[in-house]
Symmetry: C2
Amino acid sequence: MADYTLYYWPLPFRGQFVRAVLAHVGASWEERDVDAIFALKDAEPAQQPVPHMGPPVLIDNAEDVCLSQMPAVLGYLGRKHGLIPTDAQAAALTDKLVADANDLLYEMTLHNGAQMWTEQSWQAYLPRLGRWMAIFEETGRRHGLTPEAGSMLGTEAMGIADLATYALWGTMIAKLPELEPMLVTTAPAVAGLCQRIAQRPEQEKLRRDSDSAYRDEWCGGQIGASLRAVLEAKQPHGAPRSQM
Amino acid sequence: MADYTLYYWPLPFRGQFVRAVLAHVGASWEERDVDAIFALKDAEPAQQPVPHMGPPVLIDNAEDVCLSQMPAVLGYLGRKHGLIPTDAQAAALTDKLVADANDLLYEMTLHNGAQMWTEQSWQAYLPRLGRWMAIFEETGRRHGLTPEAGSMLGTEAMGIADLATYALWGTMIAKLPELEPMLVTTAPAVAGLCQRIAQRPEQEKLRRDSDSAYRDEWCGGQIGASLRAVLEAKQPHGAPRSQM
């Protein structure tokens, strides 16, 4: 039996945060298919292994622990595998960065697709996306992160703060490459960190597997198509795609 | 100097989670006014005590710790004041319930007011609100919570899981009383827990202070008015207001 069982859509998005951590700690995990996810999600709360609204759901098979909510899953895995600093402030900053990432995933998908992007709404949103990049960059810089070296909270080893930063920005620019120049300009130290993590063998393998399974999807659905449409219509820095 | 300094809008909503915990531990705190919140929130990330997008922001004055993100603030206060179980699964379930609460606050305000409620969209949403209630109820029941006694995770003393449950559902039905019958029917054990916590002297005092400062506001803004309009137009159980 695998160490963990993961229920998440065949997409990167929130699931990639969990997968990046599982890959980092060298855990084995099995992913359930879409039918199983729907069956679990649509069951009455009393019938669910953990009462929840939607995936990701992670089961720790050896410990018989079942959790939903990406931030809670990362907190659990981080504490179990020593990826959260013991210092109280650094631990809380880890939670803070994960909550920031979760908020940004909502924003980029207009709250999981409640509305669709238009060229106008996307252009109006871009400064806020830049501000999120600057928030991550400034956090890292305060702890010694540079484009060439370091980690988000100044820890010697990579922790949840780094892996979540990578799962957010690294995955985003891999799947929505139109945003890469903006990240490199606005948050060069974060972009460097993402590049260093992406080159680790376990993350390279994860990315190959994910690319083969999810192709070019990031968040999926109509909102994913809407996001791609506005990105392809106009580059964040104003240059049309054909000139890039 | 107060133990803590809190930056949050003069509203319950996410801020009440932090206030309920501060009141519970008997901490003193000072709240900054709206001008100070705007000045902090609009500053460049490099100028902010913690790089962040918006309130709540909490400063622990003695420890010189500054945090944003309600879930991170609750995690910090919970660990500092012994309000998070030491058991790994129970600690992660605490994070999970706080993340659930945070998601529900987004949903009830259509992602902080990105859209407005209509009678139709609100009626379509009600089953999902009921499911959130059932998720909290089932979680508590599994740990021995009844309408008369117990706690969300079976702990002897109240913890963050209980205080967050109260700050979510207890505040919601106090400010949007049209929803109380639905909570009592769907989640009687949660409703009982909220009532017991509300009767504690420190929470009674907090509620008196908050009522006097924020009147009948819950989330504020146009979305708050929109929410009140659909609630007053139609009771969740279908009875017009005049018959209640």
